[in-house]
Amino acid sequence: MSREDLEQLQLERLQSTLYRVGTHVPFYRKKFAELKIDYDDFKSLADLRRLPFTVKQDLRDNYPYGLFAVPQRDVVRIHSSSGTTGLATVVGYTRNDLKNWSDLVARVLTGAGVTKDDVIQIAFGYGLFTGGFGLHYGAERLGASVIPISAGNTKRQIQIMQDFKTTALVCTPSYALIIADTMMEMGINPSSLSLRVGLFGAEPWSEAMRHEINAKLGIRATDNYGLSEVMGPGVAGECEECNGLHISEDHFLLEVLDPDTLEPVEPGEVGELVVTTLTKEAFPMIRYRTRDLTRLIPEPCACGRTFTRMQRIMGRTDDMLIIKGVNVFPIQIEKVLFEIEGTAPHYQIIIERENHNDKITVLVEVNESLFFDQMKKQRQMVDHIKARLASELGIGVNVKLVEEKTLERSEGKSKRVIDKRKL
């Protein structure tokens, strides 16, 4: 599809979405009236910038069903955001929404190289979280064999992976590493498995983590992106080039804005991702501020797909830590740790305030062997990590080494940051 044809389709879909929310959702009707927006005069995609934003707080203020655009009887599914950062929010789907969701996730799976010949183990939590069901529908739509194992019970995951000859794994990237480590403990060689590809999402991760997963599990790890507020998984996904996530631009309009000025960033610059749904019936979203930071990749992809790519999520505007006035993203710390020999992929960041002074401490798990060695080596290690972090972040950081497996493990999203400051 040419860019021009795509824009025609986007405009048509946006115009009917605006009509839908302007007539069916009191929240948007009021906002449009306040801002004197007449959706009949919405002429081009550039007019998007005149529309109001929707933020997480709007979803909470209208809890539970206030933002639904269809009567309850047309809703066939209700999900809830995973609530990593506060109160849960509620989203709904019509039958058509579920169909589109399946199609879009199937598109992501296909992009990652999954076919109907694959056996796909879905180790995302099933339930209110959209990850499990979303991938499940997509995989069924594709015709793959789905193992709806859900999250948890790592040894059983591995047992099933062996016995059922799983070829594709779906979970969070941190859980993929837990599986890899557990496999090692159980003395199972990943190359004896049929596993060949992984689709990871639901939390930000780094390129270094991808290499680690690839090496430890012997697979090709791909990233995919979605959020329950706009649908769940299926918004964007990586192709086999593993170099940015193709956005399903026929169903979502994505903007990248400066989180402070809310003006578009220069093409290719980093900013906050803002999503408008184009085909959602039950729960349309206009300019939803995701708080996720990314950049659009303007260059065409080697795979030939024409949908624009976005870079993997680089952090969130709201988990961005401001320490001594410096912006720090946990992912930056993760990147450094991955580059250092002897550290395990588990870490925790603790921020405290002493005498109005911010103090950041990074707890790093290190391989057992290191602790049996002399103190001197440990000190060298700490100094090394400190120096690397200081040059990456531009601030001084305390580093503590802890033994393997002393930090809390999570089968879902990991809690990496503990902010003890009362700001």
């Binding site: 044809d5 025609q8 048509e12 879909r13 115009q15």
Partner: protein, 241 residues
């Protein structure tokens, strides 16, 4: 093939079409459904150049057609089968068809017209049977077929049909719709305007729902069939699972 953007049109001070955007790709059957007075006929009249848009753009084969006269739009391959057939009653079936081939004759000569005539007779065998009969004496369904055949005689790229099912018995409607599917198989592109939402959506690839001059829903035809709003308003029932 056809791309309409932000089209406004009306009569005098009456704004009938409000900010209409739609497109038809080659090889598609696209349907526009809506109740009486929604603006369906006005839309087709605007595309074919009978009504001038007040704003917005219409591009056919990447060419802006707003400033063109109807005959040029038809010559570029966009034809309209008007509502109520509008066949030339005092002329024979064959004369009606040959009139439809006027554009083709100017382009490719008489032989091409007769080749096309044979093709239309193959597509609508009943017209061959009645080739010498006066068009005004045909039944409603036959007149509809004649109107379609006459439009197809110019070998158009896009056929627009305005309510071909109006006033026809259900069995006849089925025959007409079968022909539309057949047309697509032969590589034609169809924009079908209908009140008979269910029949139109069941043969179309995509659809638009027009209500008081605005497109309120659009999407794949099967999605529209499942859309509860469309069901309530146009299919006259709610789907009971």
């Amino acid at each position: 093939m056809l791309k309409i953007r932000n089209l406004d049109a009306g009569y005098g001070n009456l704004r009938v079409l409000k900010n209409i955007s739609l497109h038809v790709d080659g090889g598609e059957i696209v349907t526009m459904i809506g109740a009486n007075g929604a603006g369906k006929t006005t839309l087709l009249s605007t595309v074919i150049g009978l009504v001038q848009p007040t704003s917005g753009s219409i591009a056919f084969m990447d060419q802006d057609c707003a400033p063109l006269a109807s005959r040029h739009i038809v010559a570029s391959g966009c034809v309209l089968v008007p509502e109520g057939r509008q066949v030339f009653a005092p002329m024979s079936v064959e004369e009606n068809l040959i009139l439809g081939g006027y554009v083709l004759q100017k382009k490719e000569g008489k032989a091409a017209v007769y080749r096309e005539l044979k093709h239309q007779y193959d597509l609508f065998p009943v017209l061959r049977e009645r080739r010498n009969q006066l068009a005004g004496t045909l039944s409603g369904g036959e007149q509809q077929m004649l109107a379609m055949g006459r439009a197809l005689m110019s070998r158009p790229r896009l056929v627009m049909m305005d309510e071909p099912s109006t006033g026809l018995a259900p069995l006849v409607v089925r025959d007409i719709f079968k022909v539309i599917v057949q047309l697509r198989k032969e590589g034609n592109t169809v924009l079908l305007v209908e009140q008979n939402a269910k029949a139109a959506l069941s043969i179309a690839d995509r659809g638009y729902v027009l209500e008081t001059g605005k497109i309120i829903v659009q999407g794949p035809a099967e999605d529209l069939l499942a859309n509860q709003d469309v069901q309530r308003a146009y299919l006259g029932r709610e789907k009971i699972d």
